[in-house]
């Protein structure tokens, strides 16, 4: 059983929902990333989604794009990201790390090489935004051969037949994108999300994470009631963006504690 699967299993036994914060590796500066990861865990992260900076993040909104740009100023590429995961693992062997990024940095070193190096760094899952299941059969095979979970996105427009196709390739969990549009977009319609998550559950036993549009305690609590995991990205990055070297870890901890309390207070529907 992978670390991601084990984490979901434990949380389920406790009747809890996973809180998964997203940060972009190298944002605001590479020297902060490993400390930030530990801060996230100390303040309630059950897993961490770690973004691989990319020059052309088409599926992201301006907030996460700026995070990529800040990281790229310091030349934080895939190799540097894997080094950060290794450094994090020196003192934390428990928290699952899910890399999130775009296909090209992976293609640049090749699927096999990437899978080997991700395994060596002790990565647990990979979300590749622009690898739909039709285009990444080989890649998924390489990941699964090394017990790394390929995590896929489902969107409000994903048809039931496609959900089947996707969940057959996915492991660990599936990630329901609760809004049309890009990351950091407007408001969440919790009733609709609830309906969608229920229909996804009819097609798979994989845990369902929900992300996009979760900005505060209210939306986190409402989402936690219906999902197995709550992913918070743009809001986390906004707090990082608004911080300085001195208050960065404190500000992130404050947001995490608020989100964690909300997620833990949710009553499962």
């Amino acid at each position: 059983m992978s670390r991601i699967q084990a984490t979901f299993k434990t949380l389920k036994q406790q009747g809890k929902t996973a809180l998964i914060p997203y940060i972009t590796a190298g944002d605001p500066h590479p020297k902060h990333t490993v400390n930030l990861m530990h801060t996230l865990v100390k303040n309630g992260a059950d897993m961490i989604e770690l973004g691989i900076p990319f020059s052309d993040p088409m599926a992201d909104g301006p907030v996460i794009q700026r995070a990529s740009e800040r990281a790229l100023v310091h030349k934080v590429g895939l190799t540097a990201v894997l080094e950060m995961v290794k450094a994090f693992r020196q003192t934390d062997q428990a928290t699952p790390i899910i890399l999130m990024g775009y296909a090209n940095p992976i293609e640049a070193i090749g699927a096999v090489n990437f899978a080997d190096r991700a395994k060596a760094a002790d990565v647990d899952g990979v979300i590749t935004v622009d690898y739909p299941p039709e285009e990444c059969g080989e890649f998924v095979k390489e990941l699964r051969a090394r017990d790394i979970d390929p995590v896929f996105l489902l969107s409000p427009t994903t048809e039931p037949s496609r959900i089947d196709l996707i969940v057959n390739q996915a492991s660990g969990f599936v990630y329901y994108v609760s809004l049309k549009g890009v990351t950091g977009a407007a408001n969440l319609d919790i009733a609709e999300v609830s309906q969608r998550v229920a229909s996804i559950r009819k097609q798979t036993n994989l845990p369902v994470g929900v992300g996009f549009g979760i900005r505060d305690a209210v939306t986190a609590k409402a989402t936690a009631a219906i999902a197995d995991a709550v992913v918070v990205g743009s809001r986390m990055v906004q707090v990082i963006e608004a911080s300085n070297d001195e208050n960065l870890l404190n500000n992130v901890a404050t947001l995490m504690l608020e989100l964690k309390a909300a997620v833990d207070a949710a009553v499962k529907i």
Partner: protein
């Protein structure tokens, strides 16, 4: 002989092309693919397309024998396919009409586009006005500054121009931003991509709409000289004008197809936009797999060309395929060589070519010199140079 039949059902040209997009875009692309499959051979749709090409664009565009240029170069005869004479001044309008007619049939009242130099933006704004569609054009803020006349043209035509401040603030960032708009507003919006790139079905669809160039040329060459040219030369940024003239010639034996990329300050300087000629690695950007200018981490690197229309780090996947199967050849021309060809055509033939097309002209001159006088080089003169006079003046330190 097996005829050329690409791409496959999912938009692959061998290892190139495909549909590398986020899940949020898959349904929109599926809808587009199905609608395009429905209409691409529909007689009524094709008749409407042909009507607009004839009466609105002014097609067929003539082929012109550049005699004085040929004599001056001293080799093969150079013929020009005059896409510069189209309404709005370039080949871009062919494709925007095709896609806008499709948008109308799909019931989408709003069209969006990305643009670099502004030619595709102007062509999109033009057909949007003609069909009564709302039009939003994304343009890098650097390009907005450099191409003020085209920005004003788009506004005159009723379009909204949105300056893009992210990334390198040029064409690729405009494309990213247009994709973001599309994924958010897909219920009422059609994204008119301007070149043979993007996810399937765009590379195929744009090629099909631009293929009118080569289809006309085949007929016109027979009428004019009773045979097909020995070589067809076209510039390649994303590659839509080149695909348009190459595609009908792919199955014609003994016609060399030559794509001319922008070597900028020279391939050896790294400041260019020539992924095919410079043997850039394969990668994934903007929804397709192709040759791509990138660093060791897989981040896209900045390109350079004097011609904004060629200033793109990738290339349409079908060109990548034609290179690999050796059906087409790809070469590169520097800024300086293109400028020389620009002035040469102005002075010898009374035609001001676009800086993009000047790259094709520059290579045609080199090639013609090595050929016999009874051989023929056909150049796709993809656009006129009126839009470039500020750039040319600035290079010569002249204030207009």
């Amino acid at each position: 002989m097996k005829l050329y039949d690409m791409p496959d059902a999912r938009g692959h040209f061998g290892q190139f092309g495909g549909t590398f997009v986020a899940e949020t875009l898959v349904e929109a692309l599926d809808e587009l693919r199905l609608m395009y499959e429905k209409y691409r051979h529909d007689p009524e749709f094709l008749a409407e397309f042909a009507y607009d090409l004839k009466h609105f664009v002014g097609r067929p565009s003539p082929i012109y024998h550049a005699k004085r240029l040929s004599d001056k170069v001293g080799g093969a005869q150079i013929y020009l396919k005059r896409e510069d004479l189209n309404h709005t001044g370039a080949h871009k309008i062919n494709n925007t009409i095709g896609q806008a007619l499709l948008a109308k049939r799909m019931g989408k009242p709003r069209v969006i586009a990305e643009t670099g130099a502004g030619q595709h933006g102007v062509a999109t704004a033009t057909i949007a006005a003609r069909l009564g569609l709302e039009c939003v054009v994304y343009m890098g803020s650097e390009d907005v500054k450099r191409q003020a006349p085209n920005v004003f043209r788009m506004k005159l035509l009723g379009a909204t121009v949105v300056p893009v401040e992210s990334g390198s603030k040029t064409l690729k960032d405009a494309l990213n931003e247009a994709m973001r708009d599309w994924v958010t507003n897909v219920h009422n919006t059609f994204y008119i991509i301007g070149t043979v790139a993007g996810p399937h079905p765009y590379p195929m669809m744009v090629r099909d709409f631009q293929a009118v160039i080569g289809t006309e040329a085949k007929v016109q060459m027979m009428e004019m000289v009773g045979r097909q040219p020995d070589a067809v030369v076209a510039c390649v940024g994303g590659g839509s004008n080149a695909m348009g003239i190459f595609y009908p010639y792919i199955d014609v034996p003994n016609v060399r197809l030559i794509g001319v990329e922008a070597a900028g300050h020279g391939l050896e300087t790294g400041m260019h936009a020539a992924p095919l000629t410079a043997n850039s690695p394969v990668g994934v950007l903007h929804g397709n797999r192709t040759y791509l200018m990138q660093d060791a981490d897989g981040n896209i690197i900045e390109t350079h060309s004097v011609s904004a229309g060629l200033d793109y780090p990738g290339v349409g996947p079908e060109h990548a395929w034609l290179k690999d199967i050796k059906r087409a050849e790809y070469v590169a021309i520097t800024d300086d060589e293109a400028m020389a060809a620009f002035h040469n055509l102005c002075r010898t033939e009374g035609i001001i070519p676009a800086l993009e097309s000047s790259h094709a002209l520059a290579y045609a001159e080199k090639l013609a010199k090595t050929m016999r006088k009874d051989e023929i080089v056909l150049v796709n003169l993809s656009g006129r140079g009126d839009k470039d006079i500020n750039t040319v003046a600035k290079l010569a330190n002249i204030t207009l």
